[in-house]
Amino acid sequence: MITRRSLLGAWGSLWVFGSGESWSMEAEAIHFDMLYKNFGVRGLEFSDRLKSLVSKSVVITGYMAPPLKAESQFFVLTREPLSICPFCQSDADWPLDIIVVYLKKASPLVSAGAQIHVTGRLEIGSYLDPETGFVSQLRIVDASFSKSR
């Protein structure tokens, strides 16, 4: 899966250089508040609106969680800035409503305090990252991001 992404990434970057604007014009805005229609003790269910946007271009505002490596091709997007770094300690736990972002290309990653906008293609379903073993249920792939301020 990663190899296919890197290939797509190579093609996709032809778009992003100088045409970041055209991506965001296409993208549907989504928010952390509308991801789930059911968020209970028996599990989570994605909202119908979210499910209708699978494979489409979306944009969402959130905070980048402290990443494994300073330069990386993936990071976790959270609703609020995380005060605990799950990759740093085994004790800490991810919030349940995280989004895993796979970038088109590896990028220097900002600190967890900064609010960012992420644009990319929406993916749902269970996926195991082969490099890190990280399991995600909700992803934005072929993504790029920019700081809010």
């Binding site: 599990g43 300073a70 800035p81 005060s83 605990i84 740093c88 004790d91 349940l96 967890a112």
Partner: protein, 589 residues
């Protein structure tokens, strides 16, 4: 001492080397072992010697003779540079002092254990152990001020936890440090053995696998195995978290949440209530935190547990005479605290609109547990006193102290009917909290230190009079308690309550593993930037090594007096219940 410095250093480091490389015997020195309780016996020998090179005796006898089974000898355990002599699940039924000697060449290590049993018959039918996680003296004083009112120096009433005939100062140090976390401090109460930070129901040895460290038996296991009593574990935190886990768990690492769910299933306490549902769901369910496909919700239900996830369901389940066992999971994380549920409506209140209050959890639990004619043991935790103290959120911590007190009041009323219940209220460890005076908006200036009234200028805070449950209707008043936290990361502070949600003092910084002030609070009116007094990898306040206060009422409570080490709390409970040395089926070792 007139020894030249280089020689002194050399001697000191030789001694240090010697002690780091001598054998270790588990249980450690001065262990107090309840007669008939199970434990793992282990000796670790440095430099991986062969079995023939070592000798271990217990009161002069070899291990097989003393403990009834032949031990296992493992050269280079886990591929490491030490050998281990291990014998699991042993017990000693004869009371007295045991001298354990482990020899390797000329190196000899000796430890001494006391095996004890209750000398008196059983005096308590039930035991209710209330743990205020992090409950320190300042939390009590603040809860008393807010919930009982104060005028001209006199309080309008007593906290239920204060109005008890017996009191003790409990010291909380662990095997490794003067400061504990909630894991090894709870382990001391639940097993009678001390352990190290982050560990539950084990001694911290050198095993690589967190689940293989030498175990000690928990009160949950003992009462199920020996006395057919009902057991309840109630909390408002994730049920897998250290304090509730302490009743059932054996692991070197408290974050082994998925394994801890299995341990709950193995012991099967009759009533289990808290948050932390994701660790019960199989991996394929969205929202699960398990790495396997085991459906613990189904497993518990198949074992006769009534599953509930709201306050309404909980009350209905406990009112139903057919209910003998209950599993309540009310939040994916921690249950929201009293201030959010009742007034501010922040946290996850909108996602989980019907979470129970701790007092109602206790009421439901007691209804179910008291059906057992053999009696019950109930552990109740108000866990967010600690969590809100870590996040430097005074009002939330104080409200959850009041909530604990309401639960204690209900338990006392229950116990007063028959006077057969030992009730204990205690903190597991302290926080560095203290009341400095009051923050008075009427004082000129904007910054906290300008607003701080000290000595006579503190006067009395002006919270509105409490309602019938002891809560003032607002915390956003003009003269508030200056409830000070003595340990903190870099953070911004404006001496006002956190009305928008729990305080998050620090966030991850640009350097991995280090934390910086959460800028969100730095632009608030009157805010000042505070340089942290903790190491940069601390993201919130930390525990303190201060003693905590224990109060108790009921049969057996007279055993609490003066200063006692935390392991003695287990000993008092075991004695009041007269946990027998022999098993129910009289299996003898």
């Amino acid at each position: 001492m007139r020894v030249s410095r280089p020689i002194c250093t050399m001697l000191f480091s030789m001694l240090a080397i010697a002690s780091a490389h001598s054998q270790t015997i588990y249980p450690l020195n001065r262990a107090e072992i309840l007669a008939g309780s199970k434990f793992d016996f282990k000796v670790e020998f440095p430099n991986a010697p062969k079995e023939a090179d070592v000798s271990v005796t217990i009161n002069g006898k070899d291990v097989t003779q003393a403990l009834g089974k032949k031990p296992q000898f493992i050269e280079k355990e886990d591929g490491q540079d030490y050998s281990a002599l291990v014998l699991r699940d042993v017990s000693l039924t004869q009371t007295g002092i045991y001298q354990v000697v482990a020899k390797l060449g000329t190196m000899e290590k000796k430890v001494s254990w006391e095996v004890y049993a209750s000398q008196k018959p059983r005096v308590a039918k039930n035991v209710i152990l209330f743990i205020g996680d992090g409950l320190s003296v300042a939390h009590r004083t603040a809860a008393r001020i807010l919930s009982k009112t104060i005028a001209e120096g006199h309080y309008g009433g007593e906290l239920a936890m204060d109005d008890m005939p017996h009191m003790a100062l409990i010291s909380t140090a662990g095997t490794d440090s003067i400061v504990t976390d909630s894991a090894n401090s709870m382990s001391a109460y639940a097993t009678g053995h001390k352990s190290c930070v982050n560990a539950l129901g084990v001694y911290c040895a050198r095993n690589k696998n967190t689940l293989e460290h030498p175990k000690v038996e928990t009160i949950g296991e003992l009462l199920k195995r020996k006395m057919d009593m009902s057991v309840g574990v109630i909390t408002n935190t994730e049920i897998e978290d250290a304090t509730p886990a302490g009743i059932v768990a054996h692991t070197r690492r408290r974050s082994d949440f998925n394994d801890i769910v299995k341990m709950f299933y193995d012991v099967k306490p009759d009533v289990i209530m808290g948050g932390g549902s994701p660790n019960f769901l199989p991996k394929s369910v969205n929202g699960s935190k398990r790495t396997d496909e085991v459906d613990y919700l189904k497993l518990f239900q198949d074992s006769g547990y009534r599953f509930v996830s709201t306050d309404q369901d909980m009350k209905a389940a406990s009112a139903d005479p057919k209910t003998t066992k209950m599993l309540g999971l009310f939040n994916t994380g921690n249950v929201d605290g009293a201030l959010d549920r009742m007034i501010l409506k922040k946290g996850t209140v909108s996602k989980f609109p019907d979470q129970p209050d701790l007092t109602d959890q206790v009421k439901s639990a007691v209804k179910v547990l008291s059906k057992n004619p053999n009696g019950f043991f109930l552990m109740v935790e108000s866990g967010r006193i600690d969590k809100y103290s870590h996040s430097l959120d005074a009002e939330r911590a104080i409200f959850d102290t009041i909530m604990l007190d309401n639960a204690v009041k209900y338990a006392k009323d229950f116990a007063a009917k028959k006077n057969d219940t030992l009730i204990i209220v205690v903190g597991d460890h302290a926080h560095a909290v203290s009341i400095l005076g009051s923050y008075d908006d009427a004082r000129p200036g904007n910054t906290p230190r300008e607003k701080l009234g000290i000595y006579a200028e503190a006067k009395f805070p002006n919270y509105p009079a409490p309602n019938s449950e002891g809560y003032p209707a607002s915390v956003d008043v003009s003269r508030r308690l200056a409830f000070n936290f003595g340990s903190y990361p870099d953070h911004c502070f404006n001496a006002k309550p956190y009305l928008d949600g729990e305080n998050v003092p620090a966030v991850a910084g640009p350097t991995k593993g280090e934390f910086i002030a959460n800028e969100k609070y730095c632009s608030q009116p009157g805010a000042v930037r505070v340089t942290g007094n903790l190491p940069a990898d601390a993201n919130s306040g930390v525990h303190s090594g201060d003693d905590v206060v224990l109060t108790a009422i009921g049969p057996g409570s007279e055993m609490f007096r003066g200063h006692m080490e935390n392991v003695k709390v287990f000993r008092v409970m075991a004695t009041a219940l007269a946990i027998p040395a022999k098993d129910r089926k009289s299996k003898q070792h």
